[in-house]
């Protein structure tokens, strides 16, 4: 083939082909390629041409030659057409690829947007969670408070119940108390008259005692006067004096016998003194016993008036206490195993007890009598 022909073929190929990168091919989805260089192509064509030429005889006519060249051209045109077709396919696919790339880009953008939205929502969610947590906590607290309030309410109800029970008891108590007060008022009225009477009596007795004391005083003075051998001699002392004179006469006679006048006179004086003392203590005894009697009566009256009528109220309490002791089973203690320290009081109660008993027995001779019979 002539160089001139080769170049023409090469320019035809160049005009009918298009350079494509491997990447583009890969994107089109083609994975395997057969590669043929431009030179190889030309050589191939040349070989085909030469082959066609050589098929004939060396003396191929001009006409024949032209026929070969036309055939070759036709063949080549066909190959080129095929190539152009695939080229069209390629560019169509290229368009598809571009469209898809645009799609991808759009999707990418969307993805980015979504991601942003997602981030924003995640932030919101975290805040929400925090708020939710706090809310739950305050809910718990509220619940707890509610429970406490309920508990308090229950306790209050129990308290109210207890109080109303006690109130009922107290009412009962007050009723009893009222009844007792009525009784006491009646009694106090009686007692008041009694006390008044006693007061009058006491007054009279005080008078009487005063009078007795006066008498005793007078007697004492008389005796003293007698002792001093005063010139004034009242009736009674006169009698005593008479007695004394008699005694003295008697003593004189004794003196004559043994000469001991003084002790005898002393004894006589003692007798007189004794008589005086007797009178006095007698009066005192009478006074004391009357006083004790009176006091005793007043005491009874006061006691009755101030006594608290508790017996009628014990019932409510004892019911409660019985319940308490019923719980014995559920109570346990170590008290029975432990000793408690005992001390001896520094102060004796004997003398107080004795004095109190004396005071009481003075007030009531009958009691004293009983006591005596009980003695061994």
């Amino acid at each position: 083939m002539k160089d001139e022909d080769r170049q023409r073929v090469a320019s035809v190929i160049a005009a009918n082909s298009q350079p494509v990168t491997l990447n583009d091919l890969a994107q089109r989805g083609d994975r395997k390629f057969r590669v043929i260089s431009m030179n190889d192509t030309l050589e191939l064509i040349e070989a085909v041409v030469d082959d066609v030429i050589n098929k004939g005889t060396a003396d191929v006519s001009q006409e024949k030659r032209q026929q070969f060249i036309d055939e070759a051209n036709t063949q080549f045109q066909q190959v080129a057409k095929i190539q152009a077709k695939s080229q069209e396919t390629i560019s169509q696919q290229q368009e598809v690829i571009t469209a898809q790339q645009a799609q991808i880009e759009r999707l990418e953008e969307e993805k980015h947007d979504l991601k942003n939205k997602y981030e924003a929502q995640r932030g919101e969610a975290a805040e929400f969670e925090q708020a939710n947590y706090q809310h739950t906590q305050s809910l718990d607290r509220a619940r707890e408070e509610l429970a406490q309030a309920r508990q308090r309410e229950q306790e209050a109800a129990a308290n109210v119940e207890q109080i109303s029970r006690r109130l009922a008891n107290a009412r009962e108590t007050i009723l009893n108390y009222d009844r007792e007060i009525d009784r006491l008022v009646a009694q106090i009225k009686d007692d008041a008259t009694l006390i008044e009477k006693l007061r009058v009596q006491l007054h009279e007795r005080e008078h009487e005692i005063g009078r007795v004391k006066g008498l005793m005083e007078a007697l004492h003075q008389e005796v003293t006067a007698a002792r001093a051998k005063s010139a004034i001699e009242p009736e009674s002392i006169h009698e005593l004096r008479g007695e004394l004179v008699e005694m003295k006469a008697f003593l004189k006679s004794l003196e004559k016998q043994n000469g001991h006048e003084a002790p005898a006179i002393e004894a006589l004086l003692q007798r007189i003194a004794q008589k005086e003392a007797d009178t006095k203590s007698d009066a005192e005894d009478r006074f004391n016993s009357k006083l004790s009697d009176t006091l005793d009566k007043i005491g009874h009256a006061i006691n009755a008036a101030t006594a608290k009528p508790v017996d009628s109220h014990v019932d409510a309490a004892s019911v409660y206490i019985s319940k308490l002791f019923d719980e014995e089973g559920v109570m346990e203690s170590n008290l029975s195993n432990l000793d408690i320290q005992a001390t001896t009081a520094k102060q004796s109660i004997s003398s107080s007890l004795e004095r109190l008993k004396t005071l009481r027995s003075k007030a009531s001779k009958a009691v004293e009598g009983d006591g005596d019979t009980e003695k061994k």
Binding site: I340, S350, S361
Partner: protein, 359 residues
């Protein structure tokens, strides 16, 4: 005077002085039956006869403390430590002085069955706890239906109180324990134990934890009785508040030896003295007021003796301050003097025992 006859192997005249002739309790011991019980806000005391004229006295603080129920497992240990406890429906309580000491150690507040002289109506555990302490003090009756004389406060002139409930509960408790209960006024008990020399004529005052109880007596007969609802506790509470310490701490300081109302040695003591003086002044003002109002105060021809007893009278200088404050108020009777009971803390319970022995 009376004595059971026919006792064998017992020579009363030899063992007992000629003055007291005891009634036997039938067990051949020759010791009189009958017991005294002082039901006080701060202290519970019992007194019984023994062979001497000086009675045997037991005392326990009227307090309790709930301790954590984990201690349920350590009950044995509590017994070994001589700590009295009661366990009650899964709960554990320590009683008396042990409760006081534990509370003081751990800076806690004890619980009290009584306040201001009376049972606490709000304190749910009051009666069970009181019951256990009383049982611990009195033990079993020596004879069937043995009499117990217990003291009750007189009605207060400054606060309304429920004597009936209080007395009813104590009586019920004692009956349940097998005793025959008799109530005696607290001030009257002081008269019995302290005013024999004066033929039981004069004024007995019990200065307690919850209240001051006053009894004017003529020849052993109570003419006027009343109470004032303030006592040692009042001091404790107020000093505790101003000093910012638990009240039991103040109780401890107040009862410590050496405190003198005329010579406070520290800021705390100064606070105590301040409130003590205030209390005494308050009591005397009320006393004067009561006397001024009353027609029932007997007219005494001779000046009368006043005896003060009870724990709150034991502080140094009490009688001086009392006399000093008394000179500031007007009383419608002549006072011969103010005297402190020889053993103030047992005065009431000894009076109760005397009353029981008169039965």
């Amino acid at each position: 005077m009376s004595r059971n006859s026919g006792r064998v192997g017992y020579d009363a005249d030899k063992e007992i002085d000629a003055i007291v002739v005891p009634e036997g309790n039938g067990d051949g011991s020759g010791v009189m039956t009958g017991k005294g019980l002082d039901v006080g806000t701060a202290n519970l005391l019992s007194a019984v006869h023994n062979h001497s004229g000086n009675p045997t006295v037991k005392r326990e603080r009227n307090m309790f403390l709930e301790i954590p129920s984990e201690f349920q497992k350590n009950k044995k240990m509590l017994t070994q430590l001589n700590v009295p406890y009661v366990s009650y429906r899964e709960r554990l309580f320590v009683l008396g002085d042990a409760a006081f000491n534990l509370a003081n150690m751990f800076g806690k507040d004890v619980r009290r069955p009584m306040s201001d002289g009376f049972l606490h109506p709000q304190e749910k555990e009051a009666i069970p706890m009181l019951r256990f302490i009383v049982e611990r003090l009195l033990g079993q009756p020596a004879a069937k239906d043995e009499p117990v004389f217990f003291c009750v406060p007189a009605a207060s002139i400054d606060v309304q109180n429920d004597i009936i409930y209080h007395q009813g509960v104590i009586e019920g408790l004692l009956k349940k324990l097998g005793y025959t209960p008799h109530a005696i006024n607290e001030g009257h008990a002081v008269v019995y134990s302290e005013l024999a020399e004066e033929d039981f004529t004069g004024i007995g005052i019990s200065c307690g934890g919850g209240m001051f109880n006053v009894c004017v007596s003529y020849k052993s007969i109570p003419a006027v009785t009343f109470s004032v609802c303030r006592g040692g506790d009042w001091i404790d509470q107020h000093v505790a508040k101003v000093m910012g310490v638990p009240p039991t701490r103040v109780t401890d300081m107040k009862e410590a030896p050496g405190l003198d109302l005329n010579q406070p040695r520290s800021r705390e003591e100064e606070a105590i003295v301040l409130y003590y003086r205030n209390l005494i002044e308050y009591v005397l003002k009320n006393l004067a007021h009561r006397f001024a109002m009353a027609q029932d105060v007997p007219r005494f021809s001779d000046p009368v003796q006043i005896v003060v007893a009870g724990g709150s009278s034991m502080v140094g200088g009490f009688v001086d301050v009392f006399a000093e404050e008394m000179s500031k108020v007007e009383l419608p009777l002549q006072v011969a003097g103010v005297r402190l009971a020889e053993e103030p803390l047992t005065s009431v319970v000894r009076g109760c025992l005397i009353a029981a022995s008169m039965e």
